[in-house]
């Protein structure tokens, strides 16, 4: 029965597209900053290694950007194809940031083309570096605008409904919904954090595979430091996000925390299994939910009992929430340990088991990204536009969504495999040792 329901199928296809796209989008937003930092350090220190680092990252980055662009185009169009009623309504109120996103994307695409094809074209390295700034700004701006749209879906404002008609529409007000500050900050910080840990994982793989080159060590230390900074930022912003939820979307927080009855001095439940309304085998941290929600252990936190049953998000988002938070905490702690250990010359970080932990960092961060987006999207159910339109009302009536799911699943499979094959081939054929040697040679040649 469910498998013939266009609304359900549309959800599946959107889930598929977004889950695939978000991996590339996160890297697309975060990596330009990493390239920028590496190149800047290289220019400042006149260290060839960092400049080459930027260059090699940039090469891999184009591949991920290409897939990010095409899957972004897919989700952009799918919004109208699968959720026509939502886009018709939302187009009237929230089209502005969508439109601005295209300009940011335009800007980024143009300068990425320029940046890639002008290596060594200018005498002054700083000139080339300048072309990277609009790439990073454009990427960041697109994510800001898109996140603004998502914030609007969670906490719509900037219009009124009078007799079924939308009146008093204010596009600017709609853009600055209360969900914006925490959401945008969270998306940005996690994109930077994830990109840093993904790049750290790659360096760690090279080191584990037996390369002892200082290049990889520099890359690892730089990215782990950046990872630590953004992991701490993420944790702080995560705390603010909890307060936002408690204030504006208490049902999402309550569902995530299996918080059924409104009560004071609320405890935080980690893991566990739900039996009726009771969490079994769970770790319960007293007062923690009240602290997360209102910074005060004695305050009241709204429970699910305050919401009609058909407006409650599914309770399994609890596990998504836990996954996201646990990985975030672990990465902050782990990168802190690593950075301190490097400082103090502790040797255990060179042990095999620790290297494996370093490698796990990137994939874990990506899992956290997925868990986070699933949490926020499923946690908004049954709404597409909270309080105004449910996903069932928004969906297409077309009977062919099931076929499209199969087609797009095939597409993402092809793109995923393609990315993996091309990236590994690219770096395997041209390891850093050889490239450094070649650069030395060609420089020597110039001097003669």
């Amino acid at each position: 029965m469910e498998f013939q329901d266009p609304a359900f199928l549309s959800r599946i296809l959107t889930l598929l597209t977004l889950s695939f796209h978000i991996l590339y989008a996160t890297i697309g937003v975060g990596v330009p900053l990493m390239i920028m930092i590496a190149q800047w350090v290289g220019i400042k220190k006149q260290d060839e290694h960092y400049i080459l680092m930027a260059r090699r990252w940039a090469r891999g980055f184009v591949i991920t950007v290409a897939v990010g662009v095409v899957t972004g185009t897919a989700i952009g169009l799918q919004l109208s194809l699968l959720w026509p009623n939502f886009m018709q309504l939302a187009g009237n109120v929230i089209a502005l940031p969508l439109f601005m996103e295209v300009f940011a994307f335009f800007f980024e695409a143009i300068f990425l083309g320029i940046y890639l094809y002008t290596w060594d074209r200018f005498e002054d390295q700083r000139k080339h570096f300048l072309f990277l700034i609009p790439v990073a700004l454009g990427a960041a701006a697109s994510s800001v605008f898109i996140t603004i749209v998502n914030a609007f879906m969670n906490q719509p404002q900037g219009f009124e409904i009078l007799d079924g008609e939308m009146v008093n529409i204010s596009p600017l007000l709609a853009m600055f919904s209360p969900a914006v500050p925490t959401k945008v900050a969270h998306v940005m910080a996690t994109a930077f954090m994830t990109s840093a840990f993904v790049l750290a994982s790659i360096a760690a793989v090279r080191l584990l595979r037996g390369s002892n080159h200082i290049y990889h060590k520099k890359a690892l230390f730089l990215t782990m430091k950046l990872g630590l900074v953004f992991a701490i930022a993420t944790a702080l912003i995560g705390d603010f996000s909890g307060k936002y939820l408690a204030e504006y979307q208490p049902e999402k927080l309550a569902a995530a925390e299996w918080h059924f009855e409104t009560e004071e001095e609320a405890g935080l439940i980690l893991f566990g299994i739900l039996d009726g309304e009771e969490a079994k085998y769970a770790i319960k941290i007293p007062y923690a939910l009240s602290i997360l929600a209102h910074s005060n252990p004695f305050t009241e936190v709204k429970g699910l009992n305050e919401f009609p049953e058909d407006e409650r998000p599914p309770l399994w988002i609890h596990y998504l929430f836990d996954t996201m938070v646990m990985i975030g905490m672990w990465l902050a702690f782990f990168s802190f340990v690593y950075v301190v250990a490097v400082w103090r010359n502790w040797t255990f970080i060179r042990a095999k088991w620790f290297q494996w932990l370093l490698i796990a960092g990137g994939p874990l961060a990506l899992i956290a990204i997925e868990a986070g987006w699933w949490f926020t999207e499923v946690g908004r159910q049954p709404w597409v536009l909270r309080g105004y339109m449910t996903v069932d009302q928004a969906a297409t009536t077309s009977g062919q969504v099931d076929l499209m799911i199969i087609l797009f699943a095939g597409l993402y499979l092809i793109l995923g495999i393609g990315t993996a094959v091309v990236l590994t081939r690219m770096y395997k054929r041209n390891p850093v040792e050889i490239e450094l040697a070649e650069r030395e040679n060609s420089k020597g040649g110039d001097k003669k």
């Binding site: 897919a74 994307f105 092809i414």
Partner: protein
């Protein structure tokens, strides 16, 4: 000028730009594949890749700009076109996605020069216009019906319609013609006599079919949508100007002179025809259900979008100028003397 007209003009302009840049892109892939098939691959590959590599992503943005802009200015289109275009648009998306990303894989990453890949890439360049252009036929009415207030696409009517097929054929001939003329110019700028010669030949081959198929559509419209047909006849003089520009391009190419001007005249030809077609379609977005007036967004949003658009242009135009200066008008780059790829 009303806000509605400003909105649709901006969108139509960007669609036009997409048609031009995407045609160059699609056609280039086809010519590359074809010349590889007849054993002349080495002649074209270098020139085509030098042009495409830095700009393919920008091409894609014109398309995104168009469909995001349509929803912004005319949100009601989401209801009619969103529901009915699910299948054709998804197919186009999948083609676009594979084509775009595998282009990046091949050029930036693995340096694939496998024949099978080159053929697939060339073929996708023809399938894409064929998948996208039926939307123009659908907008003429008669293919999208309402059932209980829900729009659906009558596939049988669409696929058995001569109008739809002539639009598809036009899109193919136009892609090849536009691309060939541009690449003639680009190769001559690159000082590549062999490539110029070959592209010039392709340009002359595809000129007549492009014109014949365009005329064919006007003929088909007479039966399919008489209202639109009479409005086209009212604008006959614009189409006449377009034809003169076409003749100018062909003349210059034939005489092997001023390829740059030939391309500019071609842009003029398509610009006049495209806008005359658009103006004759006015005020309908979808016959007979949707006009630009009843589907228009609210005034506040329209003004906000137009302001954002103007601000965006201030950012965009200098950037595009820089891009073109570095890759289209830079002698050393175009001639392939310097390779600064990361």
């Amino acid at each position: 000028m009303t806000l509605e007209i400003i909105g649709i003009s901006v969108l139509w302009l960007f669609l036009f730009l997409y048609v031009i840049v995407a045609s160059i892109d699609f056609g280039a892939g086809f010519f590359n594949a074809y010349s590889s098939f007849v054993g002349k691959q080495h002649i074209l590959t270098g020139v085509i890749q030098r042009y495409l590599s830095p700009v393919w992503e920008v091409t894609n943005v014109f398309f995104v700009f168009f469909f995001v802009g349509v929803i912004g200015f005319f949100p009601q289109t989401a209801f009619y076109y969103g529901t009915t275009l699910l299948v054709p648009a998804s197919i186009a998306l999948i083609l676009l996605a594979i084509r775009g990303s595998y282009y990046a894989f091949a050029t930036y990453g693995a340096k694939i020069n496998h024949r099978g890949y080159i053929y697939m890439y060339g073929l996708s360049g023809l399938l894409l216009p064929a998948a996208l252009s039926p939307v123009l036929a659908m907008s003429e009415g008669g293919f999208i019906q309402l059932d209980n207030g829900q729009p659906y696409l009558d596939y049988w009517a669409l696929f058995s319609s001569p109008l739809m097929w002539s639009i598809v054929v036009l899109s193919l001939t136009a892609v090849l013609y536009i691309s060939a003329v541009f690449l003639t110019w680009y190769s001559s700028k690159a000082g590549d006599a062999k490539a110029t010669d070959l592209m010039r030949k392709y340009a002359l081959v595809w000129a007549a079919p492009a014109m014949v198929t365009a005329a064919g559509i006007i003929y088909e419209l007479r039966g399919h949508n008489p209202e639109h047909y009479t409005r086209i006849l009212d604008l006959w003089w614009v189409f006449a100007v377009s034809f003169l520009l076409f003749a100018g391009t062909v003349y210059l190419i034939w005489k092997k002179r001023h390829y740059g001007w030939a391309f500019i005249l071609l842009v003029g030809q398509f610009f006049t025809a495209f806008f005359a077609y658009g103006a004759s379609h006015y005020p309908y977005l979808l016959y007979p259900y949707l006009t630009i007036y009843d589907s228009f967004t609210n005034e506040a949003m329209a003004i906000a979008l137009i302001i954002a658009f103007i601000a965006g242009l201030f950012l965009l135009l200098p950037s595009l100028y820089l891009l073109f200066r570095l890759f289209l008008f830079d002698k050393d780059y175009v001639e392939g003397k310097s390779d600064y790829h990361a």
